[in-house]
Symmetry: C2
Subunit: 189 residues, 2 copies
DNA sequence: TCCTCTATTGACCATTGGTTAATAAAAAGT
DNA sequence: ACTTTTTATTAACCAATGGTCAATAGAGGA
């Protein structure tokens, strides 16, 4: 009723993003409503617009963290002490594992074609790709054809995106994924 | 004003689908409104619900034809008189060409993750995949590993879906596509 | 105590997908 | 030719949505 809450319950951006993340993952972009998020937080939907310009900006705040997560995973592999060929395999597997164990997030990051959202996510996706390219170049011959690396990346992406939504988790297609990794390495040679 | 039009202008399903197709391709699923389609047809939006249960059913009527189109293209290659290895290459190229010259349609067919729409499109997509698998089996060794064919298909899909929306037409990435086709054939060996 | 800034409310708007009673035109029956 | 039935359409209606904004209660400083 009162137009402002006591200081102990003021909204923080982080609380909003967390609530929104849960709902986006559970229901997908379209079916999440600002009112629904607000109600989970116990505030009016208008309040959200004080912290985020619109639904898309709130959504992107969620997605941004997922890119950080993936980039972190890849970085760890690159900095590990394993042998190069194994690292390469690990990277391919890691990407697929991430995609299929965080499917909704992967969709948001690499598969959403919504024009408004996309302009934001595309930049981050491109960054992820460069990291991938850089890793491959380091792990394989330095003068690997760029087009081969590109083919490897899109083949990887194809695997994840094709299974997204039709399996529950990575383990269900573990064998296929490993075969696909070998398929890609064969193509890279 | 009158509750029924003279017989010369009664709506047909086909007219509706054509108008809808244009709008879906131009604006994407979410941004097309039943009112918008109705207004292009010069009728009230309620009239559309007489012919189609809801927006999704109207949408699927559009997509169905696109699957027929792609299947037809693939069939023509298979029935051609070329040599097997060339046919295989043709199929791979044809798929990418279709995807990138009819990007919105490809999105609708293979990339849309909308839960409601998807249940319908998924069946048709699976059918397309079986046709692909059958063709590869015929063109390559009959006992090609199924997992290899699967990898080939998802690699192909990955190429299209990765470029979808970021290039205007197939010709812009023709060289990459041809390299990718060779990459896939290498993996299939 | 007064003032300013901050965060929140709730009423409001236009637009959307979808439903439905009313009904005019067409078709079928006689 | 008249009546009845069926068909296709309208327009008014509903609940929900994303988004805007004036009003205002609380917090913190002077």
């Amino acid at each position: 009723m009162s137009p402002r809450k006591p200081s102990s319950e003021v909204l923080t951006k982080e609380e909003i993003v967390n609530a929104a993340r849960h709902q986006f993952i559970a229901k997908g972009f379209e079916k999440v409503t600002m009112r629904g998020v607000a109600s989970q937080l116990g505030c009016s939907h208008g309040a959200l617009y004080y912290h985020f310009k619109n639904k898309i900006e709130l959504f992107y705040a969620v997605v941004e963290k997922d890119f950080e997560h993936l980039n972190q995973l890849l970085k760890e592999i690159i900095n590990s002490t394993k042998e190069n060929h194994q690292k390469l395999l690990d990277i391919l597997i890691c990407f697929m594992k991430f995609g299929l164990n965080h499917q909704k997030q992967y969709e948001f990051m690499f598969m959403m074609k919504n024009a408004e959202v996309d302009s934001l996510a595309h930049e981050a996706a491109t960054k992820s790709y460069y990291q991938f390219e850089y890793a491959i170049l380091q792990l394989k011959n330095q003068n690997t054809e760029p087009s081969l690396i590109y083919s490897a990346f899109v083949a990887l992406h194809g695997f994840v995106s094709h299974h997204c939504g039709y399996v529950k988790e990575y383990n269900e297609v573990k064998e296929y994924a490993e075969a696909h990794a070998l398929f890609i390495i064969k193509g890279l040679a």
